[in-house]
Symmetry: C2
Subunit: 459 residues, 2 copies
């Protein structure tokens, strides 16, 4: 065992600068898992922090030669254990490959390395009058590589879609160290099967993304937010359906239930209205948002809103968004542990999903806070529990599963944006069914015949 | 040979109604090819016209059992021979599966069978205040199944993207007759590898699409078009770059060169200005298009437009679009034969692409008309030639290839929207490179181990 490890270190060292390799077990242990800390995680053998494509290729060639598993990592903000270490693996952290290589306003593209932080890219393209929409609430920490690995979403999706829609082309180091270029720099292209899209959301199981060509949009005006209070989640969901049915295109449409509102107030002193059962945030980023906001206010009132408050200005709007972005973190502080769900249903079933979740919470006598990308029907029920209490932990796990079962029953998916990782492996099999699963495994084998890339994830 | 055929007919008949099977060789021969009539095409053994998923499954089970190739067909308006028959194949025409199963304004989705005509769906969703953007110029004829098979584009793409962006989920009959469901009815979802996207643009080589869940948008206001005349294509391309760089979002941005303008006038008596070298059409479908059109007019003038004419109203706008949509058909009438190219380059290289194409035309002493989805950098150089003249035919083929080589050189792709089919097989290999090609073939084997699905296409 010692020998194998020594050999691995030696081989890796042959193609990496000294500072690109961490072998100290105390430090490597700190790379064991992402933010879903309750998911199983192994002990890494070594952490590699390459700065170049060639160094990544060296790592993968070594891994193939020695049959060692490799776990790619970005910022490890993931919520499904998808970046968790496997025992004896090479952790391949892409965080040092963090250069923005190009921003082209005519072609509306950016070319980046995978370790670029989402917020860094967003601000940099803003300075060129451009906009990179994908905005997970973790945007100040998470990397573009991780966003591609999880096909990450955010608040923008109801108008602008998810990360997948913005990835035009990729450079990928394959399991055996070969370099693959997929896709294009052009606005359109249909040359062969869409391998680019296959990598998006593949959670590091098909290859290592080392470069990405991303689509950009012109920067829209700052959005203006409206907050509406409802006496029930169902009424808020009615408003969501009415807004979408009437053909509005809000730049965000978000929901926070009372548990979430309280948790956010506690964490951030945000002064949100705690007496309300559901707080709906709607925003528009058009040049003249006034008429849209007025129409939405009316629809909210018609659906039973007890209060409708438009933000005074962009600053107040930003504050409301900050509160919304804080939701997951705030709910994590409610009890000693949380399990964050990510069920997405057709938006017409959103009320059924939220009411059903409340029933599950009541049945198991648990606190389950719900925030949601309501316009997308994407709910994040956060099961709060005391992890030192075995019975409560069991009930938490049961309710977490029941929430996914409910999502599937309502015609939804077990994951709208957080991915499968190790957390939802069994559930992925249920959602895909045997035929789908067989084909997915076939694709995995095509790209990674030795099964060394992020083993134990997805399947 | 006779025996094999008789057996095939007998087996197919066992699971299909009598009127769903055509065996008369005179009639089956008429299903041999799509609109790229100069591409090689084999002779079908039989044409199956199923009405149900079960009937499609029966066809595929029979094909697997007897190892007979199957060529799926929509309306056969394709421009790359992708729907062309293989010798002794079953042509599987999906045109009779043409029901719109659901239109849901709250979830903004439509569920359709593959044989629905694009224009039929578009009009039907319009009646619900909704919009299905993909609009190939063949929209009055082509099917949604064919649009999915080719990942079809159109005029809308500069603002709304291609077909791929609107396919949320699919039901697919696999080569062995099993039924696979991919994707979702929800706005978002990241459960496993994106098989849905893999099928889009796969040209019938991975499975038979029998049902699709499509995303819809709210119907925008009718677009207003502006026409600008330029003394050179390069000047028009400068205008295109300026428009996009300044952050405008036109709902279409199209270019027609002088050859195209003349051909369209000849076919449709459209009265377009024949003295101009390049005609640029820009449109906006926002509630208040005036200021956008004015800004674009100014940018055109700054780029050297000799005349800028905004359409009077929606009717005049529609007429200009009709002229643009007529372009390919009009160019086909210039000589006895045409080869239609479909190179897409980064829009910043559009001028180089068009000027290079003119140089290729001059070198080979040929007429090559160019129309382009200019905002996307997607050009359609149409090589016009006399197919009874062997030397001219040779020069046509050479220039067709040189255009693709130029596109690749400029950082583009050999096909923006028409696909590979049989027409561009060798070129696909060049664009993808050996590693990409190997993985693409691996995927094909995973889905179709016997190689019976649309053989000879793509690779
Ligand atoms: C407070 C908080 C809020 C969040 N809000 C959102 C939200 O609104 N929407 C949302 O979608 N998610 C959200 N997340 C989840 C998480 O931030 C996203 O999944 C994010 O995309 C992960 O990025 P990362 O850099 O941390 O990747 P990691 O967690 O390190 O990795 C994620 C996956 O990608 C793979 N990977 C990473 N880099 C590469 C690479 N270069 N090549 C191949 N594979 C790679 C990993 O193996 C892993 O499977 C939130 C998380 C937190 C903690
Ligand atoms: C005048 C004219 C203008 C055009 N303009 C455009 C344009 O603007 N943009 C554009 O992108 N294209 C354009 N085209 C090309 C063509 O119309 C499109 O490619 C269209 O999507 C083809 O649809 P179809 O129903 O005719 O499919 P077909 O030509 O019959 O088939 C196309 C491909 O899809 C496969 N296929 C069909 N149905 C299925 C199914 N149910 N399951 C699996 N595979 C299937 C076939 O095997 C084939 O590979 C134009 C063509 C013409 C003649």
């Amino acid at each position: 065992m010692e020998d194998v490890l020594a050999r691995l270190h030696e081989r890796l060292r042959a193609g990496l600068p000294a500072d690109a390799l961490i072998t100290d077990a105390d430090i490597t242990a700190s790379y064991a898992h992402d933010m879903a800390s309750f998911c199983e995680a192994g002990t890494p053998a070594v952490v590699a922090l390459p700065r170049t494509v060639e160094q990544v290729q060296h790592v993968m060639r070594t891994a193939t030669e020695l049959r060692v598993p490799v776990v790619p990592q970005g910022a490890r903000t993931g919520l499904s254990g998808a970046a968790n270490a496997a025992d004896g693996c090479i952790v391949l952290s892409l965080t040092r490959m963090d250069r923005i290589l190009e921003i082209n306003p005519v072609d509306r593209i950016a070319v980046v390395e995978p370790g670029v932080i989402n917020a860094t890219l967003s601000r940099e393209v803003n300075a060129h009058g451009l906009y990179y929409p994908p905005d997970p609430s973790s945007w100040e920490m998470c990397t573009i590589g991780g966003n591609i690995g999880t096909a990450s979403g955010g608040l923008c999706c109801v108008k602008y879609g998810v990360t997948a829609e913005y990835v035009l082309g990729l450079d990928v180091v394959l399991a055996d160290g070969r370099l693959l270029s997929t896709g294009r720099r052009t606005a359109k292209g249909v040359a062969g099967y869409d391998l680019t899209r296959l990598f998006v959301g593949s959670e590091g199981t098909l290859g290592i993304v080392v470069r990405a060509v991303l689509a950009l949009r012109p920067q829209p005006p700052q959005q203006l937010v409206l907050a509406a209070e409802f006496a029930s989640a169902a009424a808020a969901c009615d408003a969501v359906c009415a807004i979408m049915e009437r053909g509005h295109t809000p730049s965000l449409l978000e929901l926070m239930d009372r548990t979430t509102v309280r948790a956010v107030n506690r964490l951030g002193r945000m002064g949100l209205p705690e007496s309300t059962e559901a707080l709906l945030l709607a925003a528009f980023d058009t040049p003249d948002p006034g008429p849209h906001l007025a129409a939405v206010a009316e629809l909210c009132t018609a659906a039973g809103a007890t209060q409708v408050v438009p933000a005074e200005d962009a600053a107040e709007s930003e504050l409301l968004l900050k509160a919304r972005r804080m939701s997951l973190t705030a709910l994590e502080a409610v009890k000693s542990a949380t399990m964050i769900d990510d069920v997405c249903v057709p938006r017409s079933r959103l009320a059924a999903m939220i009411d059903g979740t409340a029933a599950i919470a009541a049945k198991h006598d648990l606190t389950i806070g719900v925030c949601a990308h309501a316009g997308d029907g994407n709910t994040h029920p956060v099961v709060c529990f005391d992890h030192t209490d075995p019975d409560e932990s069991r009930r938490a796990r049961e309710s977490f599963d029941e929430i996914m079962a409910l999502g599937l029953e309502l015609g939804g998916t077990i994951t709208g944006e957080h991915g499968v990782g190790v957390l939802k492996k069994e559930w992925l099999a249920r959602e895909l069914g045997p035929v789908g699963l067989e084909l997915q495994r076939g694709i995995k084998r095509t790209f990674d015949p030795l099964g060394i890339l992020n083993p134990g994830k997805l399947f």
